[in-house]
Each structure stands twice: as C-alpha cells, then as structure tokens.
C-alpha cells in the first residue's frame, strides 16, 4: 500500500516538480540537493547538524559582500570582476590605516571603510578607464590587473611607513606583518552583533543585516535612472549610445562601485576571520566570488541579488560541509585536501557554466 501511495504521489507531483526544476535550473538543483544530503549525513559522521548550519551561515556572511561586488560590473557589460583583488587591496589599505590611527571597536570598522573609500574610487577609476580601452577582452585583462596589483602591493606593504607596533615586524620595526590580529579593533564586530544562539545553532543576524543593507543599496541603485542606463549599456552598448548614454562613463562608474564593494567585502570578511591578511592573500580571492555568483545562476551579463544570495549559500555551504563530513566518515584528517579539491572543482564547474558574452 505504501508503495502505491508513493507512486501515485510521485505521478501527481511529477508535473509540479518539472516546472520547479525548470525555473530553478537543474544544475543548481543538483548542487542544492547535494548540500542537503551533506546536512542529512552530517550526524552520522559525528557532526552536529546545527554546528554545520551555523558554520555555513557564518561563511555566508563573510563572503556575501565580496560576491555582491560582482554585480555592478556584470550589469554594465564589463563581465565578471576578476580584478576583485584591486578592491580588496583598497580594503586592506583602509583596514591598516584604521589600525595605524588606533581606532577601536565599531569606530575602527567604520573608519576602515571610510579610509578605504578614496583608494577604491581612485583605483577603480583607473581600472575602469583601462577596461574601457580593452572592450571585449575585459575578463582576461581584469585577471592580470588583479594579479599585478597584488604583486605591487607586496612591495608596498614593506615600504609604506606604518609604525603601529601591533602591525609591523617585531625585529625590524618596519614593514607590515603577513597577518595582523584585529583583537581590540573590529574582530567579530558584526558577527557578534544581534547574533542569535539556540543550542548549537548560531545565526549572525548582524552580518546578514549589513549584507542586506548593501544588497538593498545595489538593488535600489539598479532601479534609478543611472542604474537603468548601466544595465542598458551591458545589454546593448550601441543602443545605449544611440539613446544618448555615455557608455564609457557608465562602465567606469560600475567598476568604481564593484571595487568599493570589494573593499567593504574584505573588511567584513576580516571582522569575522579576526585577522587582516596581507601580501599574497588577495591573490586567489576573485575565483571563489566569481564561482559563487555563476553558481547562483548569473551569466556574464545578467546578475541579480537573488543570484548572489543563492550562489554564496550553495558555494560556501558545500565548502564548509564537504571536508568535515568526509573527515568524519573516513576518520582521517584530509580536510584541507578535500577543501581544495571541492573549491577548485566548483570553480571549474562554475566557469564552464558561464555563457561567453556575445560582445
């Protein structure tokens, strides 16, 4: 009897499910189901379901703003922001300056954002002008802008005249350390703000709220006259030109916005992580963010806030859950190996999904 009911149910649900699958996208659905499966088998691997969920939420909050930094550039047709390290560097400059001037608590967090803003605007402007000169090849150029800026800053971190003892190398007294603790500054400032704890489940509402605020601003901006023009530039630049919109100006603006969001993104990331990481750390930050938004269903010239939310959750969820579950199952510590395999595997998958822009 039970079998009959099940088959009847499935027959009835079939059409409904097919419709849902189509609107959600099969690949996304498979990934979501895989994530669900991980959560289900987590207890059997000796892992607490709620701890896993809390970790996922936390990582979501850490990374969501960095993923959001993809959106403006995608809208204006500049493609995926592989030059995210440039925004991150602006954020690092802001963060280190905030510490240099010995701000503490919430003030240090806000000042980090304030200090990083002029850098983001200036660097973003230059980056935008450069991208306007290489239309059609933005993503390749962006990648190398990111890489070379990281290399350049590796020298600058040593040379810039920072002298706060908590940041510079202890023996020489100059040059910034690779890792700088945020203890006493803005470590956990959003993570612990309005955080809800029920047993093992911890939901960082503060981080969610901050992301929601930025996402709301981006969403609102895209509904303005300028935001509409930006989307049109991405959709058909010739149309936009013929309608009297300056394509180059819109693209530059979008790049500045993306760069600034990247700067804020890394500061949010740091407050949760508890440390500022300098030197080579921004090098590979672009790929996970790019993958997350592609996984969320965005394409090279269309992206929405929903894509950001779904993509970040799926990407970070799998990245958090797979290593711990696998570890629990095979009783050996291979978490780092698995983490690398899973993250790069997902990046590879996401990049095959991007539809090459026709322009």
């Amino acid at each position: 009897m039970g079998l009959d009911t099940a088959s009847l149910d499935s027959a009835m649900l079939k059409t409904k499910i097919q419709g849902l699958v189509k609107s959600f996208g099969l690949p996304r659905l498979i990934i979501a189901l895989f994530l669900l499966l991980l959560f289900i088998i987590a207890p059997f691997a000796g892992l607490n379901f709620f701890t896993g969920l809390s970790d996922t939420f936390n990582r979501f909050g850490m990374n969501a703003v960095l993923v959001l930094a993809m959106v403006p550039m995608i809208h204006s047709g500049c493609g995926l922001n592989f030059g995210l390290p440039l925004g991150i560097i602006s954020g690092l400059l802001g963060a280190t300056l905030s510490l240099e001037f010995e701000f503490t608590g919430m003030a240090s967090f806000l000042m980090a954002i304030v200090f990083s803003t002029p850098f983001a605007v200036i660097l973003g402007y230059g980056y935008g002008v450069l991208l306007n000169k290489v239309k059609g090849g933005e993503m390749m150029i962006a990648t190398y802008v990111g890489f070379s800026s990281v290399a350049f800053m590796c020298m600058m971190w040593l040379l810039l005249p920072y002298d706060n003892p908590s940041m510079v190398w202890g023996f020489s007294g100059e040059g910034l350390r690779t890792t700088i603790s945020l203890e006493g500054a803005y470590s956990g400032i959003l993570m612990n703000f309005l955080s809800l704890e029920i047993g093992h489940l911890k939901i960082p509402f503060g981080m969610f709220l901050f992301f929601a605020l930025l996402a709301f601003l981006v969403w609102g901006f895209l509904k303005t006259k300028t935001g509409t023009a930006m989307t049109a530039v991405g959709s058909n630049p010739v149309f936009a030109t013929a309608s009297g919109v300056s394509v180059d100006k819109m693209r530059t603006l979008s790049v500045v916005m993306s760069t600034w969001l990247g700067a804020v993104g890394i500061i949010v990331y740091q407050q949760s992580f508890g440390f500022i990481q300098l030197y080579m750390s921004p090098f590979y930050m672009a790929l996970p963010a790019v993958s997350a938004i592609l996984l969320g269903g965005a394409s090279v010239n269309k992206a929405s806030i929903t894509n950001v939310v779904i993509g970040t959750f799926l990407f970070q969820g799998i990245l958090t859950m797979t290593p711990s579950v696998m570890n629990g199952l095979i009783q050996t510590d291979v978490s780092e190996v698995i983490r690398i395999i899973v993250s790069n595997g997902m990046i590879l998958y996401a990049l095959t999904r991007k539809q090459e822009a026709t322009r």
């Binding site: 509904k223 006259k225 509409t228 013929a242 009297g244």
Partner: protein, 540 residues
C-alpha cells in the same frame, strides 16, 4: 513546360505542427524544370517552415518530423540533413547572410569547395596538403558572378561590400556549385530556393537579380522565389503561390495575377499601395533642418557632400540605390558615425559626433539596424519603449530625495498605450523584445522614438524585412504621427513606392550626393532616372 512530364518536385499533403501548434496544413503543389515559383505570404504564414522541410533542416526532425510526402522526379525522398538536399541538387540562399566577412568574394563563393592543385607535399602527406588553385578559383567565382549579370571584384573582402553585393555573393555561391566535381549519385543544382533575396537590395540590384533568375530558369533550373515585393513576383515568376496561416490560398499563373489581388489574398483583406493624400495640412514655410555639405564616413554608405533643407511639418523622403549613401545621412546627423559639415536644427547649430546633442535638441532616430542599434533584445518591451525618454527627457522617473527612480507604473502605462496604438502583438509588456516578430519589433522602435516626443524624427528603412500588413500599419502610423503632433519626419527608404506613398518631397542620393529633390507626385520613372544617372545636378 509539358504538363505530362514528371515534375521535378512534388509536395503531397505536407503538414507540420510544432508541439500541437499547426503551422502547415495539407500543402500540395508541383514544380517543373525551369519553372519560377513565387511564394508569398505574410510573416508566419508557413513559408519558411515549408522550405525547411524541403531542405531537411534538423529542427524539423527534432520536433517530430512532418506529415505527407516530398517527391523528387516522382520518387519519394526523405532528407535527413541539408547535405542530403544539396546532393539532390537543391540549393538555398538564406535571408541572413552566411558569409565570412574577412574573406574575399571568391573565397566565400568557393568556401570548402576550393579547386585544388596537386603538389609534392600532397604526394607525401595526402590530399589534405593540396594547394588551393587561386587562378581557377578566381575563374569559377567570376563565372558564377557573370551569370548574375553584375560586376563584382572577386578579390574584394566581404566586409567592404554594401549589403546588396553580399546577397549576390550568396547567390553566386549556389550557382558555382554546378562546376564542382560531385560524388556519385549527386546531381548538380536543379532547384534553387531564394528566401527574400531582394529584401536588402535596391530596385536596380533587384532587377539585375530577376534577370539573372530568368537566365537560370532557361538553363533548366527551377526556382522558388520568396519575396515581399509583389511587383517582382508578378514580373519575374511563372506561377504565384500565396500562403496564409499554413494553407495554400491560391496558386495561379503569374500573368493572370496583379499586385493588388495577391496582396489581398495574402492578408485576406484588400490593401492599397496607392498614395495617401494628406488629410490635414501641417506644413509651414519655415526651414526646420538645414544640412550643408554633410560628409559622413559610414562604410558601404559614404556620404560625400550632401546639402538639403527640410520644412517644418513636412515628411521628407530620402531615396536612392543601396550603397549610395542615403543611410549615412541620418546616422551622421545623429552622431552614430563620424560626420563633418554644417547641420542646423531650428536655427541652432547641431554638434556632430555627439549622440546626446541631437537628442537633447528634440530629434529622434529609428535606425535601419533594428536588432543592433534599435532594441535591447534581452530586455522587456517596457524598457525598450521608455529607456530613451527616461535618459533624455527624464520622463517616467519619480524623485525620492536626490535619487531618480524608475516609475514602473508610468512605464507600464505608456508601453500599454503604444502597444494598443501600434497594434504590437505581444503576450505582455514584460515580454522580451527578441521574442517578437520583425514587424512588431519595428513598431517597438517607433514607439521608442514617439515616446521621446521629438520635433523631428528620422526613420531609416522602416519597413525592411517586415510583411505587407505591418508595412501599411507602420507607414500610416508615421503619417498619423506627423499630422497629429506636427512632427517633421525624414524618412530614408530603398523602396521608392513606399516613399512616394507618404512623403511630400523626395531627395534621391547618388554616389554620396543629392542627385535632385522632387515632389513625391512626380513620375516614378523620373526618380528611376535620377537613381541611375551619373550627372550630378546641384541641389536646390
């Protein structure tokens, strides 16, 4: 043609549906050797689907095949791919070009069928290293071109050619196939399908093509000729077949049919191509647009030295053959192509090479390149209609503090208005522009320009590639807009009859210069003479 002989092609009871949507219903017809069959019908009448069946296109098989039989030489055939159709001697020239822009004419004509030369390398490494016989290639290309009765430099690159010559290159490619050494069982070209080959040609070029068709027909090649230009059908074809809603409405000898009959069979109502006289006089003596010594660098449509002036409230036509520069004029004035010279609008000098300036002054432009320039294909109708007005005139915005947000309600309202006014067929105002048919896309382009409420409207090739019903609607919408809003219209078109039907005066452009400006009521032969004459009269 003897009626008793076995027909070259016979279609028996062909029917086809796409997922329950019946697009062809019991199609029966025969085609004899050397016969030219004119196939006409509005967009969506089923012409293209019928040709796809004949040509064995994959999408037919993928969507469940078709009903009925296709017979060649009295034998039933089932083409599984276009290659099968090619082997049976069926050639097709498509509406969209399939040419490599970087390659020369000769290379395109003989692409993948190049004559080869045997060399030492091929002895060593096999046939793949045969060299291309350039001289023979040139010879064959020229032979095919000469069959069309035109002159075309086979060494020119496709991207440098005007659109009409691209079309000739496509046809020459089909013609050149008879020179090929074919595999066993394959036959040389016997049936040629021309899908709207003249849509992008000027009248002179079209005539050349029609005479080329006659030459082919005398050589025994049957032709199925699809066109929206009915006078070409009646003059060039032996038989006319009219389709509507997936059915064959009429099949008659072309001699016994006239244009207005065919037009009414096509649309199921009578259509007049007669000149529409003005109901209201909106013209004044004031010059609203003055163009002096305009020079525009637009590849294929160079404007060398054009001067004319347009009176307020007038519908001013610009005609001429393809590639003579008529299209360059609005594109230059609107800042889309590099331009020099002096343009005055309502007494004020217009800054050239800055697209924003003429828009701010109150000019608007409906581009001939609908898909490339005219539309945001991936966005909704609402965006397409409202975008330009939003950016230029700050319409459809609501201010909240210093921010200007899109006013969704106003946008939806104005889009609905234009959908009703211009009879745009769509499922909703949220539908994406790319999902509409050509005629409806053109109407959206018009709506976009109307929403700007311009004082002067440039319209370039407003009826290119759209069916006769939509054409009449577009033209009457332009005239109505001119009369109701007193908007001056400058209309550029390759179709003289269309210009003559609604314009007040028509300028003919020849070799980048104004040949003359005549009242639209002048005899069409006078215009024809101007288009081909090499004498440049000074424009008045």
């Amino acid at each position: 043609m003897e009626k008793t002989e076995i027909p070259l092609l016979e279609m028996k009871g062909i029917s086809k549906d796409f997922f329950g949507n019946q697009v062809l219903n019991d199609i029966n017809f025969t085609l004899h050797r050397g016969e030219i069959l004119g196939l006409v019908g509005e967009n969506g009448a089923g012409k293209s689907t019928l040709m796809k069946i004949l040509f064995g296109m994959e999408e037919i098989l993928q969507t469940g095949g078709y009903g009925g039989d296709v017979l060649i030489d009295g034998k039933k055939v089932l083409f599984k791919s276009p290659e099968d159709a090619l082997r049976a001697g069926i050639g097709m020239v498509h509406q969209e070009f399939s040419l490599l822009p970087e390659f020369t004419v000769a290379e395109n004509i003989l692409l993948n069928r190049e004559p080869e030369k045997y060399s030492v390398m091929s002895e060593l490494f096999g046939k793949r290293l045969n060299t291309v016989d350039r001289a023979e290639m040139q010879r064959r290309a020229l032979k095919a071109i000469s069959k069309l009765g035109i002159e075309l430099d086979a060494g020119k690159r496709i991207q440098d050619l005007p659109v009409g010559y691209k079309q000739f290159t496509e046809i020459a490619r089909e013609l050149s196939k008879e020179d090929d050494k074919r595999d066993e069982g394959a036959s040389s070209l016997r049936l040629l399908v021309l899908d709207e080959p003249t849509a992008v040609l000027s009248e002179k070029e079209a005539e050349t093509l029609l005479s080329a068709m006659h030459m082919l027909s005398e050589a025994g090649i049957a032709i199925i000729f699809i066109s929206h230009r009915l006078h070409e059908i009646t003059s060039a074809c032996d038989t006319v077949m009219v389709m509507r809603d997936g059915l064959i409405i009429k099949k008659v000898p072309a001699k016994s049919a006239n244009v207005s009959d065919i037009a009414s069979w096509m649309v199921g109502r009578s259509v007049s191509t007669e000149r529409v006289e003005r109901k209201v006089e909106v013209r004044s003596d004031k010059d609203i647009l003055k163009v002096e010594h305009l020079k525009v660098i637009m590849p294929g449509e160079m404007v060398r030295d054009v001067s004319f002036s347009v009176k307020e409230g007038e519908i001013f036509g610009i005609g001429g053959l393809a590639g003579q520069g008529k299209i360059g004029i609005p594109n230059g004035i609107m800042g889309l192509y590099n331009a020099m010279g002096n343009v005055e609008f309502d007494g004020k000098k217009v800054t050239l090479n800055a697209p924003r300036m003429p828009l701010d002054e109150g000019m608007a432009f409906v581009s001939e390149d609908r898909r490339g320039v005219g539309l945001l294909l991936d966005e909704s109708l609402e965006w397409n209609v409202a975008f330009a007005a939003m950016q230029i005139k700050e319409d459809f915005l609501k201010k909240i503090g210093p921010m200007k947000f899109r006013d969704q309600r106003a946008i939806e309202k104005v889009t609905k208005e234009y959908v009703d006014l211009l009879e745009i067929k769509c499922t909703s105002t949220r539908q994406k522009a790319k999902e509409l048919s050509g005629g409806n896309q053109q109407k959206v382009c018009l709506a976009k320009a109307f929403a700007l409420s311009p004082r002067l409207l440039f319209v370039s090739e407003p009826t290119r590639g759209i069916d006769i019903g939509a054409k009449a609607l577009v033209l009457s919408a332009l005239r109505r807009y001119n009369e109701e809003h007193k908007v001056t219209i400058v209309m550029v078109s390759s179709e003289l009859e269309e210009l003559r039907s609604i314009c007040d005066r028509i300028a003919i452009i020849q070799d980048g210069r104004v040949a003359d400006i005549l009242p639209a009521t002048s005899d069409s032969t006078e215009f024809g003479m101007l288009m081909v004459s090499k004498v440049n009269k000074e424009a008045n």
